[in-house]
């Protein structure tokens, strides 16, 4: 039994960690946050050059042909440095949807350029405030045209194309639309985490095509979201672990009442509790990665469990980060808010925690019935 990543996968992770340590200090994230640039273009090129963007893309389409376990460990490192690049929307969602359901022509058209970093994809599901549910979308996809409004769309502002969850005569399906097409408008929105901008996409009879065959679209959408949830959970895990490390280090160095703040039991016990919750989330994330790579039957439950644990712990770790830093944690100058913002952004994208809890119970009780 080996409920852990292999030595090869750990090597992939170390390589990613080393590259990001050099090329993605938190100042890179801050630069995007404080400027108009929507993402760190140099870092994105580096990710492409290292093959990360095509990790799971088959070699025939220019990818590395690796598995989800390799992508999961890269995601953890991407999350650890709060990389301000459209990794989630393009890699976990748009690319995965194409790999899972695209026709050979569609794959040939998009995947090689996705792997090379020449184009960026996005996944459009949400339609404003409230519960995000694939089976309740109003956006229409009929006879090759798309109409409706999608907001917020993570990475929508920088994407070249989008995979859109829409309703047609056959029910829910995924539509593939180029964002420079006629009838498409892309507007920026004001973001809680400007280091990972979202956008509003409006479609007015925009030309679009069905992604792959017209099959059970809802099941496909759920599968894409579950996979992305697992990979995002690794980003959240990486972010939580980094927030924890920074906080721990700060508390060891800062003195109060003549001793390191980290020596007070009120602090020690809270750090111990937080560490336990991060490790617990790690176990749940590993389970999600296992299910995604070789335990498809358990993916529904495993993805929800990983997602909920990782969302909760990243948010909690960043709340504790600010609290334990004291006043400076509340300043723009310190990096705490970069983590605080990212945690909430990732917890919101792909649907809220309460929504995932409903999904988890549906899946648990269905499995039992």
């Amino acid at each position: 039994m080996n409920f852990d990543f292999s030595e090869d996968q750990k090597f992939v992770q170390r390589t990613a960690a080393e590259y990001l340590a050099d090329h993605a200090p938190l100042s890179v994230c801050r630069e995007v946050l404080e400027s108009d640039q929507p993402y760190a273009q140099e870092l994105w090129k580096g990710a492409a050059a290292l093959g990360w963007l095509g990790t799971t893309i088959p070699e025939q389409y220019g990818g590395a042909g690796l598995g989800y376990l390799e992508l999961a460990v890269i995601a953890e490192e991407v999350g650890r440095v709060l990389a301000p690049i459209p990794f989630g929307g393009s890699v976990y969602l748009a690319t995965e949807a194409l790999i899972l359901a695209g026709s050979p022509e569609q794959k040939q058209r998009y995947l090689p350029r996705l792997a090379a970093g020449e184009i960026i994809g996005a996944f459009a599901l949400a339609e404003g405030a409230g519960q995000t549910a694939a089976d309740r979308v109003a956006t229409r996809f009929d006879h090759g045209t798309l109409s409706g409004s999608k907001v917020p769309v993570l990475d929508g502002g920088v994407a070249d194309f989008a995979v859109v969850v829409a309703r047609g005569e056959q029910g829910i399906s995924l539509a593939l639309v180029d964002l420079d097409a006629e009838g498409v408008s892309v507007e920026p929105v004001t973001c809680f985490d400007p280091s990972r901008p979202q956008a509003r996409l409006e479609f007015a009879e925009a030309p679009a095509q069905q992604l792959g065959e017209a099959v059970d679209g809802l099941a496909l959408v759920e599968r894409v979201i579950d996979g992305a949830a697992v990979l995002t959970a690794f980003e959240q895990l990486g972010g939580a672990a980094r927030a924890f490390d920074i906080t721990r280090q700060y508390l060891l160095e800062r003195y109060a009442f003549g001793r390191p703040v980290a020596s007070f039991q009120a602090i020690k016990h809270r750090l111990a509790d937080l560490w336990c919750e991060i490790e617990l989330a790690r176990s749940n994330c590993y389970y999600g990665a296992w299910a995604l790579s070789c335990g498809e039957a358990e993916l529904g439950v495993a993805a929800a469990v990983a997602r909920i644990a990782a969302s909760d712990v990243f948010c909690k770790a960043t709340q504790e980060m600010i609290q334990m830093h004291g006043g400076v944690g509340y300043t723009w100058e310190f990096d705490c808010h970069l983590f605080y913002r990212r945690a909430k952004l990732l917890a919101a994208s792909l649907g809220s925690t309460s929504g995932w809890k409903r999904k988890l119970m549906d899946r648990l009780t269905q499995a039992a019935a």
């Binding site: 039994m1 409920f3 560490w275 749940n284 296992w290 469990v305 988890l360």
Partner: protein, 413 residues
């Protein structure tokens, strides 16, 4: 990522299962029954436990993790886990040997003389003699090194006076491992010496403790002028703390018996399907569902963390103090789930009768018993300190009694 056995592990599992199948009866009901932290062992259970241990010893299935030189099997940690998993599938008597096989035995192997090892280990292994632990005292729990039971040298003997507490199975045990203070003039940790005591010695009085849930697994043990031969001393005079640490570290070797299954939410889902909220099954209620989902995430996380520990063992790595998190989070989870299960039962949540309460009252009993799990074997607070200091490398607590002679340490009421 692979949950399945390696070929070697699979072969060992088959070997273990084959022996168990011809020598024991499979367990029929799944383990959702209530389990107390301590139950009094009667004559019949004692005889059954000794019989089962003898049977295993004769066939070479006793104390797998012990070296062959001491009658064990030199089993790897993962083999010990596999054996525990397989044995758990069968109806077996209560395990009265945890202290002996898991803690006292390994301590004797390291700190005992060849003569002491020869004298005690074989009959410990075969189960003829049962061992208990005499460490905790009424005023020395988390602060174990603050113990006060005294041992005064008298020729070839030591004379012991004082009181021990939380001793499991003291009534039927043959031997006890004892830490006592030989010199209160020394600093706290320096004045301790470690002994093996014959539990039938004159001057030992044993009184059972009735627990919060009515069980009587533990005892108080009183020592009045109990004479222990110096040949029963383990390690040098004044080395008691170091020897005791060996014993306590070996508590972790029993990690193989940890099972995440006990933390599952399936039992709670079953309860919610039987009860009603607003005229519909509680399981259909949105608030109830969200609550159970939250429990499930933690339950699954604890279970999977257990699997990560077993996986480490399989890979030849020893788990560190990280294992503490399973107890810390697992016990709180069970307490929270039991509290919620009682809440779901409405006014009937305050009934415990097998006939009256839902699920035969097991949530109520669980709620009582779990409060002890959060204290036994390291309180939540001690576990947090262990994690903070040994895993996270945070500074040790400031100790008010550091360097003081034991007799000068303030001791309150």
């Amino acid at each position: 990522m692979d949950f399945s056995d390696t070929p070697e592990e699979a072969a060992f599992r088959v070997q273990a299962r084959t022996w168990l199948e011809t020598n024991a009866t499979p367990r029929t009901t799944e383990g959702s029954e209530y389990e107390s932290l301590g139950e009094r062992i009667g004559e019949a259970e004692l005889a059954a436990a000794k019989g089962w241990q003898k049977k295993k010893a004769d066939a070479g299935w006793a104390c797998l993790h012990w070296p062959r030189a001491f009658g064990g099997r030199d089993a790897t940690p993962i083999q010990t886990v596999i054996w525990s998993q397989e044995e758990a599938r069968f109806k077996t008597p209560p395990n009265i040997y945890l202290i002996g096989h898991g803690m006292a035995g390994p301590t004797l192997m390291i700190h005992g003389s060849a003569e002491q090892q020869q004298r005690w280990l074989p009959r410990m292994l075969s189960g003829e003699e049962v061992w208990c632990q005499l460490f905790s005292e009424p005023s020395a729990g988390s602060d174990l090194a603050g113990l006060r039971t005294s041992a005064v040298r008298d020729g070839d003997y030591w004379v012991v006076n004082g009181q021990k507490i939380w001793t499991t199975g003291a009534q039927f045990c043959d031997w006890g491992i004892l830490v006592a203070r030989h010199d209160p003039g020394l600093a706290k940790h320096s004045g301790l010496t470690y002994f093996v005591v014959d539990m039938r010695s004159p001057g030992i009085e044993i009184r059972p403790i009735t627990q919060i849930d009515g069980g009587q697994g533990f005892n108080e043990v009183f020592f009045t002028d109990v004479r222990i031969p110096d040949s029963n001393r383990i390690g040098e005079v004044g080395e008691g703390w170091r020897v005791a640490i060996t014993t306590l570290m070996n508590e972790r070797a029993t990690v193989g018996t940890l099972s995440g299954d006990a933390f599952g939410s399936a039992d709670l889902i079953d309860l919610a399907a039987r009860l009603e909220v607003d005229g519909a099954p509680a399981l259909a209620n949105a608030a109830v569902r969200e609550k159970i989902a939250s429990f499930h995430v933690i339950a699954k996380g604890v279970e999977l963390t257990g699997r990560r520990i077993v996986s480490d063992l399989s890979q030849g790595k020893m788990p560190g103090p990280e294992a503490s998190l399973m107890k810390l989070l697992g016990a709180r989870l069970i307490q929270d789930m039991a509290a919620y299960a009682m809440d779901l039962q409405g006014e009937a949540g305050a009934m415990v009768g097998v006939d009256d309460a839902a699920h035969q009252g097991r949530w109520q009993y669980r709620y009582l018993a779990i409060s002890g799990f959060r204290i036994a074997g390291g309180t939540d607070e001690v576990l947090r300190n262990i994690i903070a200091e040994r895993v996270l490398g945070l500074p040790a607590d400031v100790r008010a009694d550091k360097g003081m002679a034991f007799r000068d340490i303030p001791r309150g009421g």
